[in-house]
């Protein structure tokens, strides 16, 4: 589980990457709280945003996880959302960003 994941990112996005990943860490933290509160609408919004932006920044896995969260929120599937939140945290902990010159 501790294998590193190398993601190659265009140099022109370099300055945006830390902020983007920081926001995903915040999403991972919020998902647990939102699940507890049963706020599926906000969970869906988070999933939708991750899905829309992830691939553009070069993180296709974030798009996939976001799509799964959005889908699960629509079905109010708390277990699937919790699993995706774990998956997101795991991914963020293992990702290494390599800036392409």
């Amino acid at each position: 589980m501790n294998d590193r994941i190398a993601i190659h990112v265009d140099a022109d996005l370099e300055e945006l990457i830390p902020g983007f990943l920081d926001n995903r860490h915040k999403d991972a933290a919020r998902l647990a709280a939102l699940l507890e509160a049963g706020d599926f609408a906000e969970i869906r919004r988070i999933g939708h945003s991750m899905k829309g932006a992830g691939g553009g920044y070069g993180f296709d896995a974030i798009t996939d996880i976001g799509a799964a969260i959005e889908e699960a929120a629509l079905c109010r599937d708390a277990a699937a959302i919790a699993a995706s939140a774990v998956e997101l945290s795991d991914y963020l902990s293992r990702v290494d960003v390599i800036i392409e010159p």
């Binding site: 926001n23 899905k51 553009g56």
Partner: protein, 456 residues
Amino acid sequence: MTVKSPAPGSDKGSVLIVDDDEDMLKLLRKWLEGAGYKVTAAASGSAALSQCSSVHPDLVVTDLYMDEMDGLSLVTHLHAANPLLPIIMLSGHAQIPDAVKATHLGTSAFLTKPVARDDLIAEVERHIRPQRREGDNVFSRTMIYCSEVMVSLVEQAELVAQGDVTVFISGETGTGKEVLARAIHEASGRREHPFIGVNCGAIPEQLLESELFGHERGAFTGANNKHEGLFLAADGGTLFLDEIGDMPLGLQVKLLRVLQDFEVRPVGSTRSHPVNVRIISATHNNLEELVAEGEFREDLYYRLNVVPLHMPRLAERPDDVPLLLDHFLGLQAKKSGQGRKRFAPDALAYLASASWPGNIRQLVNVVELCTTLNVADIVPLSMAQKALRQEPVQIKTLKDAKAEFERNYLVSVLRITEGHVANAARIAGRNRTEFYKLLNLYELEPAQFRAGSSED
């Protein structure tokens, strides 16, 4: 700033990006600024509307799903204010009904998120039309265009306007040669002085000579008063000689002399008067062919053709058709006092690819026909097709052409005789009774030509 087409490293236009996701806005801004666009961001539909009214973007990229106001409502609001604003819709869901609805509302492109940088930039490049800016130079105020062919023509015209060089404008009937000539005058240092246009093909040789160069009192039968002539009337300004290809050979040599010496000698006078006039001439004829056939003097051709400018046919500038339609729809709305109508996207596409044999004049007629016959606010494709089919190419009937010639002739005679009917009738070779009948037929009032009105 003038209208420019996208070009590497230049101002390629401005884009408003709308998304309620902060990371998406940052990403879009980075991509578009990297591609040379000026970018404004809005985090909601309502913020976009208020930004739009202040920054006047050339294109909008918006997310479909947003809280408060979604992308489709935003398109409706934006197009109510500017029906031609290109809008690219991004959506996280590839749902066909949304795409269909977005297209129906006039969205230029529909892309599914996550969108690839190259796909987005390609769509922006394809749809953006950098707008003419308020307060621009005279060309972008008075001419409607965004096509590369017109941008390049106007760049030449701007350079030409700064000097006093003689300009020759070629181009088909209805392409707007006089509009370009006027813009050159207005952009020149002569703008405070008159711009006088004369159609060299509409007036008989003797009258044209007197019209252009003036005449002394008693110079010919009926010339009871001195007439200044258009060269002197345009002194300090610009004289636009339209349909120069139709100028009779006899007059061509006289015109050549004026252009060499910049002095005019009125008919019947022994004295020449210096004139300071810039000459812009135009014709729909091929002057080189006329020179080869001996119908046009070669020396005059070279004297006039110092800087040649060519007005393209409307079919050569399809990118301008939507702008021109929008402009004339606006004028039509003002004229009729009714709400502004617009063409459906498929009608616009159809009209943009039409062949327009009658050029802009034909386009004006099609707009009038469509807005008159169409009751609804949006003119559908079927109506545009019908109007284009029904609208005859603007060639006059022989009867109308004769009537126009006769009226122009009578105006010229009355102008030269300053409204003296007996003299005018004598020049025209008609008795007074017959002459009065003609004046009545064309609703011409001799009194209008008295009081020394010699200008066109």
